[in-house]
């Protein structure tokens, strides 16, 4: 049983005909036939054929919670790297602090990490992000690790089951951004365990029963569980 029903598709592979199915994400249409546009796993939902990517850059969508690293502070805005093909703009109006003109560096400077939300994506892919929400803030201390953005759902698990298990066994503070970044804070042992779990999820993303295997892995050497 190679994939237990998960079919791996490659670009240009024919997935279905137009009237019977509708083209979803990761597909394109030519002569009323639906083709895969990228490497991924085929998924059919309500007659929509989707290709869930296995690899690839993060594509920003409005409303996504992302972890950004400040690249540059200007007089009235910051440029933030959110792991997308383009840098994102964070305007002083989009932060919860009162900032006087040219005082931006006091609040956020190059290298600082933030948990932000994608505010807008325009036609030419110019990005804006915001910190104006109650669960968005500057991330102080901690570590940032990167993962393949396409496996975000696997890292979170069904109804956050996966991430809750990791948090439970490692006693780390974890924030996961949709852009393929994880921020974590805790003791060295816990962080090592999170890294181990994430790399296992990453290498086995296309398989079933992953949550149970991760729990097994973490349970093995867990001493005190909250």
């Amino acid at each position: 049983m190679p994939n237990e029903g998960r079919q791996i598709v490659i670009p240009g592979q024919i997935l279905g005909d137009m009237p019977a199915f509708k083209p979803g994400r990761g597909t394109f249409v030519e002569n009323k036939k639906i083709y895969a546009e990228r490497l991924g796993v085929m998924n059919i939902q309500d007659n929509f054929i989707n290709v869930i990517p296995l690899k690839g850059r993060y594509e920003p969508i409005v409303g996504d919670v992302v972890i950004g690293v400040v690249e540059e502070a200007s007089t009235s805005n910051w440029m933030v790297d959110i792991n997308a093909p383009y840098p994102a703009l964070l305007h002083v109006h989009e932060v919860p602090w009162e900032i006087e003109f040219a005082d931006t560096e006091k609040y956020l400077n190059t290298g600082d990490a933030i948990l932000a939300k994608v505010l807008s994506v325009d036609e030419s892919k110019k990005l804006q992000i915001t910190l104006n929400d109650r669960n968005l803030f500057k991330l102080k201390g901690g570590h940032i690790i990167e993962f393949e953005p396409s496996i975000y759902r696997r890292i979170m698990g069904k109804q956050y089951s996966m991430i809750e298990i990791i948090q439970k066994y490692t006693r780390c503070r974890i924030k996961v951004g949709k852009n393929g970044r994880i921020w974590l804070d805790g003791d060295a042992e816990g962080i090592a365990k999170v890294l181990q779990a994430i790399s296992k999820i990453e290498s086995e993303a296309a398989t079933f029963g992953l949550t149970d295997r991760i729990e097994e892995l973490l349970k093995k050497d867990a001493k005190d569980v909250r």
Binding site: M1, P2, N3, R6, I8, I10, P11, G12, G26, F28, Y35, E37, R38, L39, G40, P53, L54, K55, G56, R57, P85, Y86, P87, E123, S124, K125, S150, S203, E204, A205, A206, T207, R213
Partner: protein, 244 residues
């Protein structure tokens, strides 16, 4: 010099024992580099090619950006040790030309309109050369682009046909390329049959050209199957490893 070397016997057997329509042995491995977004290592006869793909990412300097679509920047480079006499390192007339034609071939298959202002960088390093490196490079680039998760209409594939001792053959080897009569590299999009790259060195009559071209297209489809297998193999082994 040309006529006194026998490259093909009257029975149609070539120097390395192949028939006129046989392709050299091809080995493709996807995802070999960790720092690159996508990568591919390919061995095609005596050719060894390594391709790394980066992007899509914002194009710099700014004036190279296209506000409507991504640009594709392929860079073909031969290692100094890739040929018998040391090749002087750095871009030369030949590698600049090959970089340009490969960039244009890849631009046609990548869905560039999804990434305005961005660039896709494709680095093709020829480690060992034995004729047909541009075809090997383009074929490997196709696999590396899939590995990088870049949206594409199709997987580009290339192979050369040519003429040796007056006979049209597929996939020229080193001696056949050096002492043959003509070399015709062809890249196609195998799903639609569109031509992505077509160059010719030497002389062919119209009939010979058509014959060589048809042979190359046939060869492209054969190589395309090897390409697809390599990609699917790579990602299915990940799934299989877990089931053990």
């Amino acid at each position: 010099m040309k006529s006194d070397i026998k490259l093909i016997t009257s029975e149609g057997k070539r120097l390395d024992g192949r028939g006129p329509e046989d392709i050299r042995k091809i080995k493709i491995e996807a995802g070999v580099l960790h720092r690159a977004d996508g990568s591919c290592y390919l061995e095609w006869g005596g050719n060894k090619v390594l391709v790394a793909v980066y992007g899509p990412r914002e194009a710099v300097p700014r004036h190279t950006q296209n506000p409507l679509r991504a640009i594709v920047q392929a860079r073909y480079n031969m290692a100094a040790f890739s040929v018998e006499d040391r090749k002087r390192p750095g871009p030369d007339r030949r590698s600049v030309e090959i970089s340009k034609v490969i960039s244009e071939a890849l631009e046609k298959v990548i869905l560039t309109e999804q990434f305005p202002r961005a660039t896709v960088n494709v680095n093709i390093e020829v480690l060992d050369a034995e004729a047909g490196t541009r075809c090997a490079g383009l074929t490997a680039a196709g696999v590396a682009l899939i590995d990088a998760g870049i949206p594409m209409r199709d997987i580009p594939v290339a192979i050369a046909a040519g003429k040796i001792n007056g006979q049209v053959v597929l996939d020229l080897g080193k001696e056949e390329d050096n002492f043959g009569d003509a070399d015709l590299p062809v890249a196609i999009s195998p799903r639609t049959g569109e031509i992505l790259l077509l160059q010719m060195d030497g002389h062919l009559t119209v009939d010979e050209f058509n014959q060589a071209f048809d042979l190359a297209v046939k060869g492209c489809h054969a190589v395309s199957e090897i390409q697809k297998k390599a990609v699917i193999h790579k990602y299915q082994t990940i799934a299989a490893e877990v089931q053990e």
